[in-house]
């Protein structure tokens, strides 16, 4: 599960993008937010496992699979950042360094909070 962070930042989800995809359907927005929340938990679990960083090819596949979900919520820049962090982490792992992904976890936590707002 995602940890809770007390950091206050501007919203990063772009509702305009989401609404373009759903045709301003609040019910559908809620469904998608719930599904993405679940996916975020899976993502958090995956990146929390040190073995995840052992295979760079798997990371690329993983990133590719979750990319549309981020883009659905207008989180293109966040996705690019996550992609960069994870690829760097894989390199660190190869060098025998245990990756620290605090920034990444914090980003996911913020997205999760914003998704809860859409769902409520």
């Amino acid at each position: 599960m995602l940890p809770e962070y007390g950091v206050i930042m501007a919203n990063i989800i772009e509702l305009e993008i989401l609404n373009k995809i759903t045709g301003n359907d609040a019910e559908l927005n809620k469904k998608l937010a719930d599904a993405f929340s679940e996916e975020l938990n899976e993502i958090a679990d995956a990146i929390g496992d040190i073995k995840f960083y052992a295979n760079a090819e798997e990371i690329t596949k993983f990133l590719h699979k979750v990319k549309p979900s981020f883009f659905t919520f207008g989180l293109d820049a966040v996705y690019n950042k996550i992609s960069f962090i994870l690829k760097e982490a894989a390199k660190q792992y190869q060098d025998g360094v245990i990756p620290h992904n605090e920034e990444l976890i914090q980003m996911l936590a913020q997205i999760s909070d914003e998704l809860n707002e859409i769902s409520s």
Binding site: D25, L32, A35, F36, K67, P68, F71, T72
Partner: protein
């Protein structure tokens, strides 16, 4: 109005929700099944000999959507869904109706479905056996033959040209310019940068829309006067 059966094979939960919603919101599209597992989808499609419209994720968690569909005894019409940016070429090579990049927007979805309907209309058009004139087209090392009366139109597809014919869609390696130079201009007419139509099958021109049997194509502004002039003499 004809109903079109659809099946979704998609393991991306958000894309699946969006596709389901889009299909259910359209009156003439019916949802026959939703699968996130390639093996279950394969069993369903094979058992039912499904011949409707398949929305197929290229990469599924437990296998490739492409490999799954290649094993099917009869292949339905496919619209691929993918987050690959450069999949258009592969999609055309696989004879797909279209491909949708995720996240899927309603506008792009409707465009793909219209392509499917057009394709289906062309396939079900009765054959005209009044003429035996035909053309040969090269695909790879092989030549294949199409009766002129069965060719509806040609459509540019990057380095390829897609032939929309009564027998279905065929892909040939050519540019529109090269193709146009080889075609009989008494019969075939270019209506835009990307489309050449068989004028003998044109049923109507309304504004900048040309109707070829049940299909319609847009005439580019730069071609409209020569198209109307040409058709006025036929």
């Amino acid at each position: 109005m004809e109903d079109f059966q659809c099946v979704i094979v998609e393991d991306d939960p958000l894309a699946c929700i969006i596709l389901e919603q889009l299909i259910l919101a359209r009156t003439n599209l019916k949802l026959a099944g939703v699968f996130e597992d390639a093996r279950l989808a394969y069993d369903f499609l094979n058992t039912k000999k499904f011949s409707g419209l398949l929305f197929l994720d290229v990469e599924l968690k437990n296998g490739s959507g492409i490999e799954m569909v290649q094993k099917l005894r009869s292949t339905p019409d496919i619209i691929f869904t993918t987050s690959h940016e450069n999949f258009a070429f592969t999609a055309y090579e696989l004879g797909a109706i279209d491909f949708l990049r995720k996240p899927i927007t309603p506008k792009r979805f409707d465009m793909a479905v219209e392509r499917y309907k057009l394709n289906r209309a062309l396939k079900t058009t009765p054959k005209n056996d009044n003429t035996e004139e035909y053309l040969f087209f090269k695909t790879g090392k092989d030549l294949f033959k199409l009766k002129i009366s069965e060719i509806f139109f040609f459509e540019a597809a990057r380095d390829y040209v897609k032939i929309h014919a009564a027998s279905g869609a065929h892909l040939i390696l050519s540019t529109m310019k090269d193709l146009e130079a080889k075609l009989n201009t008494d019969i075939f007419l270019r209506i835009s940068k990307s489309v050449i139509v068989n004028t003998t099958l044109v049923s109507r021109v309304s504004g900048n829309i040309i109707y070829i049997n049940k299909a319609s194509q847009k005439i580019s502004r730069s071609y409209i006067s020569q198209v109307k002039e040409k058709l006025a003499h036929i």
